[in-house]
């Protein structure tokens, strides 16, 4: 097992860093270009959600990854405001910020690009997204 952890300020300029950090972590496994791109996409969605929805004015986003053989686990965690209704939030096109040009596709994209995702959240405490993908 190999693991990695990073913490960074919930600022939009760190979104690119987060995607590249996770894709860099799995690089030694020689994953296909598709897997690399899929992981970047899912990480970007989860991290952007923590920055936009989790925190209003600043906070810290934590990413924790594990590689067990070829199975990647990525956890994206914030201590922001949490999600009231997780089932509703995961529905395609559902967004609480339509006035900000959000399309409500983040969770749908994470589900489509990773093998499995687990959403844990508590109002006022924060949100933890755990995603799994078998690298090919």
């Amino acid at each position: 097992m190999n693991k990695m952890e990073i913490k960074f300020d919930a600022l939009s300029q760190n979104e690119a860093f987060a995607r590249l950090a996770v894709s860099g972590f799995i690089l030694y496994k020689n994953p296909g270009i598709n897997d690399m791109e899929d992981v970047k996409m899912a990480v970007s969605e989860a991290v952007t959600n923590s920055i936009i929805h989790g925190y209003n004015d600043g906070g810290v986003v934590r990413i924790y990854c594990e590689l067990n053989g070829n199975e990647l686990m990525v956890m994206v965690e914030d201590h922001g405001k949490g999600i009231e209704d997780i089932a509703l939030a995961r529905k395609p096109l559902y967004t609480t910020r339509p006035q900000e040009e959000r399309s409500g596709m983040g969770f749908t994209i994470m589900e489509a690009f990773m093998d499995r995702i687990i959403v844990e959240s508590e109002k006022g405490k924060g949100t933890k997204i755990t995603m799994y993908k078998e690298l090919k």
Binding site: Q13, E15, A16, R19, E37, M41, E101, R102, S103, I109
Partner: protein, 118 residues
């Protein structure tokens, strides 16, 4: 992220380069607002130079579509491929925003709508 644009007649071609994410969508919107004049009726968003785009890009394109539609204008995209194409399909954007391989093809299509392209 880098961005430039050029205007021919009543069509603006917006060329995007690099990553289109939540961080860069504000930069893109500001550039478009600065260059968009009331007489521009067609917008072609060229993604040929884009290396990464997530749902923030989908929201940004949808936002431009809504604004152009309000003034009876059009929005089309070019250079969509790979995962960009997957999220374009997944979000249903392909049903309302036309996609072309190249900017030239998109311009031809705009011209074909009689009288819109001068």
């Amino acid at each position: 992220m880098k961005i430039d644009s050029n205007i021919t007649g009543n069509t603006i071609v917006v060329n995007l380069f690099g990553d289109v994410d939540h961080h860069s969508t504000d930069i893109i919107k500001n550039h478009i607002y600065k260059n968009l004049t009331p007489d521009i009726k067609n917008m072609i968003i060229n993604l040929e130079g884009v290396e990464f785009m997530d749902s923030s890009g989908i929201g940004m394109i949808l936002g431009r579509y809504k604004e152009m539609s309000e003034k009876m204008g059009t929005v089309s995209v070019t250079g969509i491929r790979g995962n960009m194409e997957r999220i374009y399909t997944l979000s249903g954007l392909y049903r309302i925003i036309k996609s072309y391989d190249t900017v030239d093809e998109a311009i031809e299509a705009v011209k074909a709508q009689a009288g819109v392209y001068k």
